[in-house]
């Protein structure tokens, strides 16, 4: 990417350079492939960093998670799983935890039986329609999911094109957002120490974007929407939590193109997307004016991490001219 007003670029050289790049890119292929993943279930922790404004709010939350590193601590969220429509997907889940767990991809898999402690199970399925899916542990009420056992499964079009689905809206860059919450004192602290969670009370005090507190997420390149005026960002968004997340975009409206796998016939232009628990959406955000803008949740307490402002659900939008 060259700045549009860069005076020193030889145009002929530039065109040759672009043509060379095009030659290097492999041609789009529609052939179904097989995608094999191994996930390990393990305990871990979520690190909440302090607000750089006030210095408040650093914390460590005990968690359980899926990880792609054998022997490693569980990650929150779990690894991003990707496939192309029609791919034969195989996910081998190794339960390295002392409790029973499982692995469910909402709208894709149906086996909810437990993998006992120390057990292994392989799930095979065909990658469904291009879109965003949420995977999670459905056992123990919502406790296993609340502890961090969830992640996003992304299905791209079969031809690998940069479009939300084959023949669908095109984009120049994509981000995935997994939003969630944790009730540290009543759920995570209790479950991680072997206690029984009173699941009739849920008062989450941490609200996470891609497993991070707000200040971490706002500084995370993989979470931010970044680009130049004229670019279009595709956001694949899943809510792994138990609260609805009402997210507000500054700088521009977005287009809602898919809700829970239902592709909209005509795209609504909105500035708030409200995602219910285990809901998934895809939105297109057009980068139409330079500047730095926040995307943040509009629900009071969910803007905080245990009451520390801006340490809740947020991301940055950075647009260059």
């Amino acid at each position: 990417m060259f700045p549009p007003n860069a005076p020193t670029i030889d145009r002929t050289l530039f065109v040759r350079f672009v043509l060379l790049l095009l030659l290097l890119v492999p041609p789009l292929s529609s052939e179904a492939a097989s995608k094999n993943y191994s996930l390990y279930i393990a305990t871990g922790s979520v690190t909440i960093t302090a607000s750089p404004v006030t210095g408040n709010g650093a914390a460590t939350i005990p968690s359980w998670g899926y990880t792609d590193v054998a022997g490693g601590p569980g990650k929150v969220p779990g690894p991003i799983l990707t496939a192309r429509e029609g791919d034969a997907v195989s996910v081998t889940v190794v339960n390295n935890d002392s409790r029973s767990h499982n692995f469910v991809v909402k709208r894709v898999t149906t086996d909810t039986s437990a993998i006992p402690a120390g057990g292994t199970k392989t799930y095979t399925f065909t990658a469904p329609a291009a879109g965003a899916y949420v995977y999670y542990d459905s056992l123990a009420g919502n406790v296993n999911r609340e502890m961090g056992l969830y992640g996003i499964f992304i299905v791209e079009p079969a031809d690998g094109s940069l479009s939300a689905w084959a023949g669908g809206p095109a984009y120049t860059s994509a981000v995935s957002w997994v939003v969630s919450e944790m009730d540290k004192p009543r759920w995570n602290d209790v479950a991680s120490s072997g206690g029984t969670v009173n699941t009739s009370v849920y008062k989450p005090n941490y609200f996470l974007m891609n497993g991070m507190n707000g200040f971490q997420a706002m500084g995370d390149a993989n979470t931010s929407i970044m680009g130049r005026v004229g670019d279009v960002a595709l956001v694949r968004l899943v809510n792994a939590g138990q609260y609805s997340h009402s997210l507000h975009f500054h700088g521009n409206h977005y287009r809602l193109i898919d809700e829970d796998g239902v592709r909209l016939a005509s795209f609504k232009e909105l500035d708030i997307v409200n995602v219910p628990p285990l809901g998934t959406v895809m939105v297109l955000f057009e980068l139409n004016q330079p500047g730095v803008y926040p995307m943040h949740i509009h629900t009071a307490q969910m803007e905080t991490g245990n009451g520390v402002y801006l340490n809740g659900v947020a991301a940055m939008i950075a647009i260059e001219p």
């Binding site: 006030t54 016939a265 005509s266 609504k268 708030i272 004016q289 629900t299 307490q301 905080t304 991490g305």
Partner: protein, 334 residues
């Protein structure tokens, strides 16, 4: 991020830019420039018998009069330019780093310099916020403070901003949008909000702000806990069209329905959402409103006289249960 406050200097050219925008549109008869100044003042509301302190916007900047919750409505036409000035003189405020106030033009897609977000460079010491409403923007918006929003929104620093379609002579049309099918005889704002008194006394980074326990539920800043004591009333003629602007400033889930005196739900049509026309109007018998959302809806009253009750049920974010006292009524007699 606070370090970017240095950028404030860059925005000193703002008033000049605003004046320029005014000139550009001065040549067009239908476009107006609206200048409005608001201040921030304390106001005590008595909610279910309990006094709660709020900070409200007001245009009465000449003394220590009470603030308004919600603040003064800003109404402008498509094509019009707004210069909305925030004067923070004598404003109640928090201690640093959450001192001062700003105005965020919620849903108006303004550039960074007008966005009112301190963390991306906005001054918290008062400023003029400028934008021009584009064609197709007719609908409902919000202006609200963007300093320590977990507290400042709860304190009541919010108000409706309405963009209306205009005719060729520059007069407001009695329509939600420029589409004739959105014509109405009556229009009312239904700005909805919730109140957790604990948030009104807490300040700074407090664990109080991690747990939201609303006790009071408002439409247009008023409680309306029963059909006999509604928050908002409208006296209309039979057979006429009513538009309501549903504007969400709450922090829980909410569900709007329109019911007759027997409690039967009446359908209504959503024409715009978040300030944009829907690709196709949607006729429904209820709509959920999430924090920050706006809906402009339309319905026709029956040809025989009666009473309808627009109502909002405020629901727990987790289990969806309606809060005790969490149903707030409006009333339309015809």
């Amino acid at each position: 991020m606070r370090a970017t406050l240095k950028k404030r200097v860059l925005f000193l050219g703002l008033p000049a830019a605003a004046a320029l925008a005014g000139l550009v549109f001065a040549g067009r008869a239908e476009a107006a420039t609206i200048n409005k100044t608001v201040c921030v003042r304390n106001v005590t509301k008595t909610l279910s018998g309990t006094n709660v302190n709020f900070w409200g916007f007001t245009e009465g900047c000449m003394g220590m009069g009470a603030g308004l919750v919600p603040g003064p409505v800003v109404e402008m036409g498509e094509g019009d330019t707004l210069n909305l000035t925030l004067n923070v003189m004598m404003a109640p405020e928090e201690a640093a780093p959450y001192n001062g106030h700003t105005i965020h033009l919620h849903g108006l897609d303004v550039p960074q310099a007008e966005d009112g977000v301190p963390e991306t460079g906005a001054s918290v010491s008062g400023d003029t916020y400028t934008f021009t409403a584009k064609p197709g923007w007719a609908g409902s918006y919000i202006y609200h403070c963007h300093v320590h929003t977990v507290k400042h929104l709860e304190m009541g620093m919010y108000a409706s901003l309405i963009i209306r379609p205009k005719d060729a002579n520059g007069n407001f049309l009695k329509q939600i949008t420029s589409t004739a099918a959105t014509a109405y005889d009556y229009v009312q704002n239904y700005l909805i909000s919730t109140v957790d008194p604990g948030y009104h006394t807490a300040t700074g980074d407090s664990t109080v702000f991690a747990d939201y326990n609303p006790l009071y539920f408002l439409i247009e800043g008023k409680e309306g806990k029963s059909k006999t004591a509604p928050a908002v009333t409208l006296a209309a003629a039979t057979g006429k069209k009513v538009a309501l602007r549903l504007i969400g400033l709450h922090s829980v889930n909410a569900r709007f329905t329109l019911r007759d005196s027997n409690g039967s739900a009446k359908s209504f049509t959503i024409h715009t959402r978040d300030g944009r026309s829907l690709p196709a109007p949607e006729t429904v018998s209820s709509v959920s409103i999430s924090p920050g959302q706006r809906y402009d809806i339309l319905f026709t009253l029956p040809s025989t006289s009666g009473t309808w009750y627009p109502q909002v049920e405020f629901q727990d974010l987790w289990n969806g249960n309606t809060y005790t006292g969490g149903t707030v009524y409006g009333k339309i007699t015809f």
